[in-house]
């Protein structure tokens, strides 16, 4: 059966995309890079990290900001992924993220990608970025329902109900597998306030990551 397609514009390029795709999926199919943190293929889009924000306008209306991972394509959408507004927003989000979790590799990677040179907030050392991947993995893929968010606002954390291992947890370690917080930055644990960003200074450090084993965003492993 033939699928219906819609025509959208991303960064000035007219694309024909199958219906039901999100802007993020459409962008990736055509090699347009939109950075993400809480998104993973085959898990429900969550829209929590907001790193993938893009500017969307519809029928010539005023452009608004929404996340590419949750917004489904529609005929006539005009999407901008690199406007000054978006770049500024992503940079600020990256700063917030890396200030709260400097020892999580993905936070450092996103900060490097956004060209962040300095963090203006007091540094913390959280290990969890509250992306919710583990919870969705457990619930959607493993049918475990053993994890969930507890608390509200700044007190939010990932927890098993009542802080005990649930009977539905089969110790499959799917949560561990998807967790970005367990991967420390390439060159080990950072001092408070230190930014990694070696991958963007490859000229300075030609042997930063010769084998691509650290999996930074550079050519071998786009985020």
């Amino acid at each position: 059966m033939e699928r219906k397609t819609v025509k959208i514009t991303i960064d000035g390029r007219l694309l024909e995309v199958e219906e039901g795709n999100t802007i993020l999926q459409a962008g990736r199919q055509f090699g347009i890079h939109i950075p993400t943190l809480c998104y993973m293929e085959h898990l429900t889009p969550y829209g929590g990290c907001r790193i993938c924000v893009v500017e969307i306008s519809q029928d010539g209306g005023k452009p608004f900001v929404d996340t590419a991972c949750t917004y489904e394509v529609k005929d006539g959408l005009v999407v901008q992924t690199q406007t000054p507004r978006i770049i500024r927003a992503r940079k600020m989000l990256a700063e917030l993220l890396v200030a709260s979790a400097p020892n999580v590799k993905i936070a450092q990677d996103i900060a490097a990608r956004m060209g962040l040179l300095k963090v203006r907030f007091p540094m913390e050392d959280n290990r969890c970025v509250l992306c919710g991947l583990c919870i969705r993995m457990c619930y959607e893929q493993m049918d475990g329902k053993a994890l969930g968010f507890a608390g509200r606002g700044t007190g939010r954390k990932v927890s098993m109900p009542f802080n005990t291992r649930s009977e539905t947890c089969r110790l499959c370690r799917g949560c561990d597998y998807v967790c970005p917080g367990v991967i420390v930055p390439c060159h080990g644990v950072k001092e408070p306030g230190e930014l990694c960003g070696r991958c963007v200074r490859l000229d300075d450090m030609p042997y930063c990551c010769p084998e691509g084993t650290f999996g930074c965003f550079c050519d071998k492993n786009p985020l």
Binding site: R50, R88, L93, L96, A99, L130, F149, G153
Partner: protein, 617 residues
Amino acid sequence: MRKIKTASDLEKWRQDIIKKQKRDEIVVSVCGGTGCHAYGCKKVRDQFAKAIKKNGFMDKKIRLRFTGCRGFCERGPIVTIQPQGVFYQRVQEKDVDLIVSETINQGKIIDRLLYEDPNTKRKIDSEKEIPFYKAQHRLVLGKNGLIEPTKIEDYIGVGGYQSLTKALFEMKPEEIIEEIKTSGLRGRGGAGFPTGKKWEDCRKAQGNMKYLICNCDEGDPGAYMDRSLLEGNPHSVLEGMIIGAYAIGGSHGYIYVRHEYPLACKNAEIAIKQARRAGLLGKDILGSGFDFDIEIAKGGGAFVCGESTALISSIEGRVGEPRSKQIHTVTRGLWGKPTNLNNVETWANVPLIIEKGSKWFASIGTEKSKGTKIFSLVGKVKNTGLVEVPMGITLNEIIFGIGGGAKNGRQIKAVQTGGPSGGCIPASLFDLPVDFDSLTQVGSMMGSGGMIVMDEGTCMVDVAKYFVHFLEEESCGKCLPCREGLKRMGQILDGITEGRGDEETLMLLEDLSQVVGDTSLCGLGKTAPNPVLSALRYFRPEFEAHIYQKKCPAGVCTSLIQYSISEDCTGCGACAKVCPMKAIEGEKKQIHRILTELCSKCGSCKDVCKSNAVIVQ
């Protein structure tokens, strides 16, 4: 109670009720609103019941009515006596016997309990003459004083459920929607979305089951109009919902109310039960063949659950967290079905529009904002309470006309509208007409209708800090900009009020505020920077004073002020007595001195000083 099966049954019941009410010669109404409850109105009511029984008014029939909120909360508990229409304020338990023997028995008015106009010093004996009520246009709240919320008979007696019969038997669903559309009614929850358009979209949405929700999850600091409406006149909300359900094709409704509003929960529950027993809810309403029922969903009291998608997820039994709103709730809402969600006040406006027509409704208000709006006027004004005014009235009229201006002869500096999502409007803009669009233009918003008046003793940095911390705590934590961004904004504002701010932090604050507003997931985060941005826009010199001179002009931020005693000191020693830190020393009749190192800057000395000798710098 009767079971009503047809529209004529309802009319007959109404006539019987009116006939019965005419037999009461005197009606004593005690206000039972939230404010008056705090003043002890329950005791006053009980005392009245006792006194009336004791005096045994055999020749006169007296009805004691425990009404909903009358609005003038500053002066509670309020008691009115009909048919004279006497309006007594600040009635205490001990005054009751006097009222019964003087006013009820002999028809004499007790001067001491009347309202006194602070400007003219004239005693006013009727409600209509009081300046607080005079400038108001009480369409929705007006019936609160005439009915007892737990009695359906009272509501039917004042013409309740007439609009429902009109809607069910004289109008088609499309006509009702058209009527609401031409009336120009906009959502009273804050955003001001056209109600008729929402209903139309929901009616057109595909689905075998459609839900209606009444949003009574009011959580703004200083706002209490939704609860007062649901407490004082729950049947008007029910009637609005039934009409809405008929127009949309809805089959089930929820009233989402937070459990911290026990009286609202109770009164709404009683109202639903009564309406069900009378045949106004349930199967085959008034014999029209239309089925609709309402139940109450109690919320845990999270501020974010006022957001529609978070509210829906809370009703479904999940954590109250918003989701992306590309697909609106009118297409896919509660349990994945089309859902129409409106605020309490919006629903309560519906019967009025159906009864009096859309043209009448559209004649009130401004070009784009129609009808009236209830505001809770609180803060540093003389008359606090619930006010209902037509849209387009200026802030001056509300604050100085109805509110009576500032207390203690101070200057009013600003008004905060729209709660934590709104902004501060400076006194220089008080000519502004109050409607949805003009408030948004100046960087604030209508919100659900909180209005906090601030005078010169309020520090705007401190206000911004308060609201940011409030939202930080109430944020659900799902999205990064709201969770982390608000935390950082709070830290920066803490720093500024403690004298650690510099130019860079101010720029960072502004930058961060804009990004948080731009990228957050739901309305809470999107509007969260408004208090900060509006304070920066209109009160930047205050921020700069905190940063460069390390001074708080209003004398609020404790890290930046110092207390001292001037030469006006008479040496009475009152300050030394109240000082909790024993930080004031001095001989009798000599000028006293504050030991700065011991002073906790509580301000008690300033409050007790009669010669204004305590200075804050």
